[in-house]
Amino acid sequence: MVGFKNRFMLMEVYLDPDKDLLGEGTPVILTKLNLSEAIKDSILVNFGECGLASCLGSFHVAYVNPVTKLCIVRSSRDEHRRVWSAMTLVRSVGNCPVVFNLLDISGCIRACRDAALKCETDKFNQSGKGLSEEEIREMNRKMRTPRTLEVWKLGTVNYLKSLKLQDKLVSERKANRIPDTLLSLQHPPTYTLGKRRTDHNLLIPEAELKSIGAELHYTQRGGDITFHGPHQAILYPILSLRSIGFGARSYVEALERSMIEFSSLYGVKARAGNKCETGVWVGDRKIGAIGVRISSGITCHGLAFNIDPDMKYFEHIVPCGIADKEVTSLRRETDAQLPSEEVIHEQLVTCLAKVFSYDDVVVKEDPSAILNTLEDDD
């Protein structure tokens, strides 16, 4: 639901169009501050204090590239014509005469950003040879770096080891030493509990777990009890929520959408859970589970999607604390021929990357080496 409508205007600024100023080099360095001041002055002169006040609430210079002379200005939809006219009437920025030219206008920053990138790439291609080394460096810095997701394909990993790895990666991500990372793996038979420690939902005594070949772990993630095992695809995204602009709820909804999108590849019509039944369902049967932890804005834990796990293990728990609802798997919901698990994992990763709008997906070379060093740290 969009409550408040904005307009984002992509403008090109022509500096000293009549060649009035003598001297070489760029007459003025465009910055958010001086552009913003120049535009506000223009609104004040042409539309008065009242005009300025009504525009001021949403007026914001979102982006300025001093090398390509492009800028993106945000204004509310109601006021954007006023701001646009004022910008056209701007005569100078600092001491330098300027002319503004509107290139594109759109309702969301994303479309504007894409248009800006296209313009800048064209400019760069045209006059690449003409730019100085420093200007090229500056432009590469200013041009939005594409969002990359680094995927670690880990095979089957012991649960505790995966927790240790996630802790390490969360600190690395928080310190910005690594990009957004996604762990793609499976676990040996393991039951896990969330922060609320709802162990009353484990229906067999803990002592018996060993005899059925399973482990039990208490974690800090949200959610209730669940089972992880072979032939269940697990994704642990280690993402910075702030850099992707999500809150906890929108993040969990995006995880649900990733699994729903993936299910549709096999003709399975999955849906998000109702209130208090987070996860992905086919009818009344749960096919995908979610349990996440967010610490200083960095996510860990994630989702588990049943491809073809041994369903008997689910009989020993009240899955996710929701009684009398079945658990199902991709194998049970479709007659389609399932490809190899490696392919299935890759498809799930691709769906997640698409839902989260990553520009690039990079597979990390030899991630198991890191796992082995974790063991040595003990």
């Binding site: 006040a53 001021l56 709820r249 969990v252």
Partner: protein, 156 residues
Amino acid sequence: MAARFLWASRAASHLRISVAQRGFASVVLKDLKYADSHEWVKIDGNKATFGITDHAQDHLGDVVYVELPDLGRSVSQGESFGAVESVKATSDINSPVSGKVVEVNEVLTESPGLVNTSPYEEGWIIKVELSDAGEVEKLMDSDKYSKFCEEEDAKH
């Protein structure tokens, strides 16, 4: 200059010329201080009460569980002291100031939903005795925090 714009905004709204009223924006109370991890603080002498802001609870979804710290535990500015769980996601709550926990809102154990319905009043989370009153200077006031939320929301 800022005062002039404020006057002009009020004049514009009084004359019913369109003023950018962001109707859906989250509630930000004037006499509180804010941390950039979306917690609010109310200072009362050397005691501080805190909780999470309306913006935070809106982005979290329905809170189903609040993990409260023990009484007497010390907290430091920027460090996590507890967590809230909502829609299968536990999010850490960071302390906006340093001090010693003197009171926790036990009501939240039974009614975690108060964090959503009344984030600034009944949904308060803990009260601490300040150890360093100077730290409050590092926090944002209501205007800065409103702008901060706007910038964050505009990112996508």
